[in-house]
């Protein structure tokens, strides 16, 4: 079997973990990759645990859920407590340090996604897109061009520019992390 690339984005309902997953999946499709995106959330419209899972592969994907994520993004303390340690050894764990005080491991990459979002867009809600920029910048799993197209295709009308600024802030943060 060819190698699967697995990613899990987790947070609280309303933070946009699922939308971020859809954007990433769409970006992968634009590059001709095979992708499956699934989600898991509670019955609440806001609040409650929410997670989005993306599996990317060069060929057919049988099992559609994450088995051992290569990359995990945790946007809440609860999400980090639950999923932080499940990341594959040597994998990447990114946490929103505005919402997560206790990281599961010392290896975690801490980025203040929410404050960055507020800083560059004036809206904390764009933290998920900042997160996408960080993840894509660090892993290169999709190209920036595809990701920008996918962001514009999926965010609410009139927020395209704002979200592209959020994405750029994420990429910039990734560049600083890589040093």
């Amino acid at each position: 079997m060819t190698r699967r690339f697995e990613m899990r984005l987790a947070g609280t309902g309303g933070q946009g973990a699922i939308l971020a997953g859809i954007i990433l999946a769409d970006a992968a499709i634009r590059e001709g990759k095979t992708v499956v995106q699934t989600q898991s959330y509670g019955p609440e419209a806001r609040g409650g645990a929410s997670r989005s899972e993306i599996v990317i592969s060069a060929d057919e994907i049988d099992y559609p859920k994450v088995l051992e994520p290569d990359v995990t993004l945790c946007m809440s303390q609860e999400a980090c407590d639950r999923y932080g340690r499940q990341t594959r050894p040597g994998g990447l764990l990114v946490i929103d340090s505005d919402h997560v005080s206790r990281a599961a491991t010392t290896q975690a990459v801490r980025v203040p996604l929410t404050s960055l979002a507020r800083e560059v867009t004036g809206r904390a809600i764009a933290a998920n897109v900042v997160g996408l920029g960080v993840l894509a910048g660090l892993t290169g799993i999709v190209s920036r061009e595809s990701l920008e197209q996918a962001v514009e295709a999926h965010v609410p009308a009139g927020t395209g520019d704002l979200n592209l600024r959020a994405l750029a802030a994420g990429y910039e943060e990734a560049r600083l992390i890589k040093g």
């Binding site: 079997m1 999946a25 699934t38 049988d62 099992y63």
Partner: protein
């Protein structure tokens, strides 16, 4: 058409429209709501009707009415709504009214876990309404196949004048995959047969003399000058209530016969690597994805494992399973329930041969859980 990211629920809605469905009545429920949401956009564009009803009982009733009026009609729900629909599903079976009922299964019983996948309504799909009746139920395992089997569901329901159940689950309904939909004009679509007799000779429930042909009398839409009676009571060939065993029996024989004689058309399945296998995994719906993952892993480790995936789960593919399992020592049946379709497998191949893999806690069965059973059996073979 270029590939686009699509949810299983959306693919179901697209499939319905492509199949010629022009009527939807339903009540929103997780995880089936996106089917209604998508059809509320698609149907008006093609001159169809979308109605959000007051509940699921009214929804299936409206669908039956629309079908008698000549439209291909659909409703979509999940477990709690499927329970409410059972009485009228029986009515559609009794009155032989084609319609498609989608049940995107979630964890039950009762309200259960609305956002968690399950395959707990397999037996309900078969026996949910009271009495003896045949049923067709299909279970897709990908987003693309959800489109295809929705089209098939309409075709089978029209061809055999029967309600057809599309048994999806939360995983397939909410999952997104890239999908390239076929061009509408490449699809083979069943149309309702027309009658050749004038109104006064028309018998909507005619039992033709027994022969090799499948016995499905044409259903003429109301409003075309053909006056006839429809009832949930046992009825004669014209549709009027009867208590005569010599009229009830031929009806039963006919409605069962039309399905039983058409199994080669109705039973959809795929099999892989069965010839030289000594273990067979039988699966359906979302669980089949974990199963195939496990089967591939087992094969790379040298195991000879066959894979049989049932797309049609009702009627149960007895002969297909019997033939596939005949030579084999062991059969593994993973399901997202406490063991439902496995009862049919056990009936056909014998309990001793079968190992169950079950999960009903809201999480998917992982490939490793199936692989562990395969390896355990390998050691024993």
């Amino acid at each position: 058409m270029t590939a686009r990211l699509m949810q299983g629920d959306e693919a179901c809605a697209e499939g319905a429209v492509a199949a010629g469905c022009r009527f939807f009545a339903g009540y929103p429920i997780t995880p089936a709501t996106e089917i209604a949401e998508t059809l509320s956009r698609l149907l008006p564009r093609v001159g169809g009707k979308f109605i959000q009803m007051e509940d699921e009982i009214a929804s299936i009733a409206a669908v039956i009415g629309a079908s008698v009026g000549g439209a291909k009609a659909l409703t979509a729900t999940s477990g709690p709504g499927f329970s409410l629909m059972q009485e009228n599903i029986g009515y559609a079976a009794m009155a032989e009214i084609p319609c498609v009922i989608v049940n995107v299964q979630r964890l039950g019983p009762s309200t259960g876990r609305p956002t968690s996948p399950a395959q707990g309504d397999v037996m309900q799909a078969r026996w949910g309404t009271h009495g003896d009746y045949p049923v067709i139920a299909l279970a897709p395992w990908t987003v693309r196949e959800t489109f295809d089997l929705t089209v098939q569901a309409f075709n089978l329901s029209e061809r055999y004048r029967t309600p057809v159940i599309l048994l999806m689950d939360e995983l397939i309904g909410h999952m997104r995959e890239q999908v390239r939909l076929p061009d509408a004009d490449t699809l083979e679509l069943a149309r309702r047969t027309e009658t050749r007799v004038p109104p006064r000779w028309y018998k909507p429930f005619e039992n033709f003399p027994d022969g090799p042909n499948v016995n499905v009398p044409p259903l003429v839409p109301f409003g075309e000058g053909y006056r006839y009676h429809i009832t949930g009571l046992h009825h004669d060939e014209r549709g009027y209530p009867t208590d005569r065993p010599d009229e009830i029996r031929p009806w039963l024989d006919r409605v069962f016969g039309k399905i039983e004689r058409s199994l080669s058309d109705i039973l959809l399945y795929e099999e892989d690597g069965i010839e030289d296998a000594n273990i067979l995994v039988i699966a359906y719906g979302s669980t089949a994805r974990a199963a195939r993952h496990a089967v591939k892993q087992a094969r790379t480790r040298g195991s000879r494992v066959g894979f049989l995936r049932l797309k049609t789960i009702w009627p149960f593919a007895e002969e297909v399973v019997e033939r596939a399992a005949a030579r084999l020592h062991r059969v593994v049946v993973p399901e997202l329930n406490r063991g439902q379709l496995v009862l049919e497998v056990e009936r056909v191949v014998g309990r001793q041969k079968v190992r169950r893999v079950n999960r009903a806690d809201g999480e998917m069965i992982r490939p490793s859980e199936i692989l562990a059973v395969i390896e355990d059996l390998e050691g024993a073979v």
